[in-house]
């Protein structure tokens, strides 16, 4: 039983990480109908920037929480700037191009960022400092660390914050209007370019926070870390219904749970015929089943033929 509780905790942590990253995908998709494949790389840049700031500051004798705060702030600033530049350089010129073109520039940006990070930070793995004490707390026989609790909490807070922003503020209304029809929104006095830029900047800030959390949780940062994470988060976004914020959250948590329970129990359920190496297969199988019955994802609304 405690093994089962532990697997649920594992799944929730992993799922919250996916959800944090998936929010960025889904925001951009919701407004532009574009899959920003460079988002995983923004997460990576966030993690490495934070690391580059935290290490020397902590080394210079600055109190630990202050160094971490400075690191997170620097990561957010760097990623916001990066998000702004990416949109300006790679996506805006192609706003009215066929849908395949911005997809290709997205992949291009992703590669450029990876190589750039490799040049700046090198090929070595960087160990990421523990932000919170790693001593596990025991809950009913299962182990959970403070950082894991924080990851889940931050993910929920961020989603709630985003939902508030989109549904309750003037900016949010402008975003929804732009998502629905940029031309008409423009006629109503919404500056679509401004809104799109803001979307990227906000999404990138989320990515920076996600990057710091991921690296702190696994104690590792590397120029290549964003790729698989981005792919998984994208899957989560699709599972939940891409374009839908609650869906991204739900999809992320579900994907995390499926992976953890899949890895933990496939072997026992199939009598050792299939092992934990099938955890990804299992996750994608669930995705396919969901998409067969709900083509726009779990929470996805029926979108008219714009996206």
């Amino acid at each position: 039983m405690d093994t089962f509780v532990q697997q649920i905790i594992n799944g929730l942590t992993l799922g919250s990480i996916y959800a944090l990253v998936a929010l960025g995908y889904t925001m951009v998709y919701g407004i532009l109908g574009l899959i920003n494949f460079a988002h995983g790389e923004v997460v990576m840049i966030g993690a490495l920037t934070a690391l580059a700031v935290i290490k020397p500051l902590a080394g210079a004798g600055l109190p630990w929480p202050l160094a971490v705060l400075a690191g997170v702030a620097a990561a957010i600033a760097a990623c916001m700037a990066l998000g702004f530049v990416i949109e300006r350089v790679a996506y805006r010129p192609l706003r009215n191009a066929p849908r395949l073109a911005p997809l290709i520039t997205a992949i291009g940006v992703s590669m450029v960022l990876q190589q750039l990070a490799m040049i700046i930070w090198g090929r070595n793995y960087h160990s990421f400092p523990q932000l919170l004490p790693a001593t596990p707390r025991a809950i009913g026989g299962a182990q959970i660390t403070d950082l894991q609790i924080m990851i889940v909490a931050v993910a929920i807070l961020m989603m709630a914050g985003l939902a508030l922003l989109v549904n309750r503020t003037r900016l949010g209304r402008a975003m929804r209007a732009t998502a629905e029809n940029p031309q008409i929104a423009g006629l109503m006095g919404v500056d679509a370019n401004h809104i799109v830029s803001l979307t990227f900047v906000i999404g990138s800030a989320l990515a920076a926070v996600a990057g710091v959390m991921v690296s702190a949780n696994y104690g590792i940062a590397h120029y290549n870390m964003g790729f698989i994470l981005g792919l998984k988060a994208f899957t989560a976004a699709v599972l939940g219904g891409i374009g839908n914020l609650t869906g991204a959250m739900l999809g992320g948590i579900l994907l995390g749970l499926i992976e953890a329970l899949g890895a933990g129990y496939i072997g026992d359920l199939t009598g050792g015929f299939l092992g934990s190496d099938y955890q990804d297969v299992f996750a994608f199988f669930v995705l396919i089943v969901v998409l067969i019955f709900r083509p726009s994802g779990l929470m996805g609304e029926k979108v008219s033929e714009r996206a």
Partner: protein
């Protein structure tokens, strides 16, 4: 989902980027007739999760070539200058065969590589068909030399030897009655885990769980939780340091207190760095003897540090020896033609940095030793060397690097 074609296009573009990066060193102008340029191919992952190990291998090869050229070699009555053609195989078997074909097309005179078993084995077929000698510094999967290719050699003990040592050590020295095994599904990781299992079971150890991950994963909480529920005395991991480090850290977080044992892929300083204090007390093995005990180990370490201003990761001394063994065979054959010097390779008796190198009939190194280490205070301390031949008695001068750190 278009993920496959996406990954493919990304990887091919990455290759384009990484190919054109390093210009070959300019040939030295010495004699009146231009020296004969001898190209040696080197393949290792220079991008992706194992890039740090691949770069280390490449540095080993660069160092060897610089040293060899400094001796102003003459082969077949001509001055020769060796040149390194370094390619990125991304630790990907598909990419490995593309790189191999590229070497064949570029008419290199020999190949040093690849780093991983997963790339070395498929590539070895291409080299064998082209009659191109290949020395792998670090591929340890037994399959590599079991294919009957006359061109395939390696300078490191294979996983049959290493797995047996690890299995015996787990059963006898670490007194593990129950063992869980995790591997990364690569030719290396799975192969080593298989040999370990064979040896451990022969010693009466009970295998309570066999789990799998992959060589890009960072989250092992789910499989570790499952392992924990089986309460093994020891957890064996067949895979590389980038996974082993976070895995050890997550073991600690989950309160899994089994002993942790790995093969050479995890036996790096990187592992200790990534695992942090969770590395304490864990065990790993490396083929060969500790660097300090290698005939030319200490001199090599200083030489490497002076040239690249960074520490050796793992396989650099083996790569260095692999290059030197190949050049040695060319000298004895007095020819750089693959068809001619290939016949000399099986007769190798070369006093290298790592040990005395000679090959058995399959192309495996003879008397490959395996050393066990334990991590204490963030560094790996050698415990004991098993299967070592008395190679330390070889004359050291031949192994000493030619340029004693002139850059300092």
């Amino acid at each position: 989902m278009k993920l496959n074609s996406l990954a493919l296009s990304i990887s091919s573009a990455l290759m384009l980027i990484s190919c054109s990066k390093e210009a070959p060193p300019p040939p030295s102008v010495t004699a009146a007739p231009p020296p004969l340029v001898v190209k040696l191919g080197h393949a290792a992952p220079l991008t992706g999760p194992q890039a740090h190990l691949g770069k280390d291998n490449e540095n080993g090869a660069r160092l060897a070539i610089a040293d060899a050229n400094a001796r102003k070699p003459r082969i077949g009555g001509r001055d020769v200058v060796f040149e390194l053609l370094s390619e990125d195989d991304q630790a990907d078997p598909k990419q490995g065969t593309l790189v191999a074909q590229k070497f064949v097309d570029a008419k290199v005179n020999g190949v040093i590589g690849h780093l991983n078993s997963g790339t070395t084995i498929p590539a070895s077929k291409i080299y064998a068909d082209a009659g191109l000698p290949q020395i792998s510094p670090s591929a340890t999967n037994p399959q590599y030399t079991l294919q009957g290719f006359k061109t395939a050699f390696r300078v490191m003990a294979n996983d049959v030897q290493q797995g047996r040592v690890l299995g015996d050590y787990a059963a006898k020295q670490l007194k593990a009655g129950t063992v869980a095994i995790i591997d990364d599904k690569t030719a290396y990781g799975e192969g080593l885990a298989k040999e370990f299992k064979k040896a451990a079971e022969a010693d009466g150890v009970r295998i309570v769980a066999e789990e799998h991950t992959d060589d890009k994963a960072v989250d092992f909480a789910a499989i570790l939780t499952k392992v924990k529920s089986k309460k093994p005395d020891l957890l064996f991991y067949g895979g590389m340091d980038a996974q082993a480090g976070p895995m050890a850290a997550q073991m600690k977080k989950l309160g899994l207190k089994s002993k942790f044992l790995m093969g050479d892929g995890g036996c790096t300083v990187e592992f200790a760095k990534l695992a942090g204090d969770a590395a304490e007390g864990h065990y790993c093995s490396l083929p060969g003897v500790p660097l300090d005990k290698m005939p030319g180990g200490v001199a090599f370490r200083d030489h490497y540090k002076a040239m690249f201003n960074t520490d050796i990761q793992l396989y650099a001394p083996y790569v260095y020896d692999a290059v030197m063994v190949m050049i040695d065979a060319m000298k004895r054959a007095d020819s750089v033609e693959p068809a001619k010097y290939r016949a000399e390779l099986p007769k190798t008796a070369y006093a290298g940095v790592t040990s005395m190198i000679s090959f058995d009939e399959k192309g495996d190194i003879k008397d490959g030793a395996v050393t066990l280490y334990q991590f204490r205070g963030g560094i790996k301390e050698p415990l004991e060397t098993i299967g070592a031949s008395p190679t330390a008695a070889v004359p050291a001068p031949a192994a000493a690097p030619a340029k004693p750190a002139e850059k300092k």
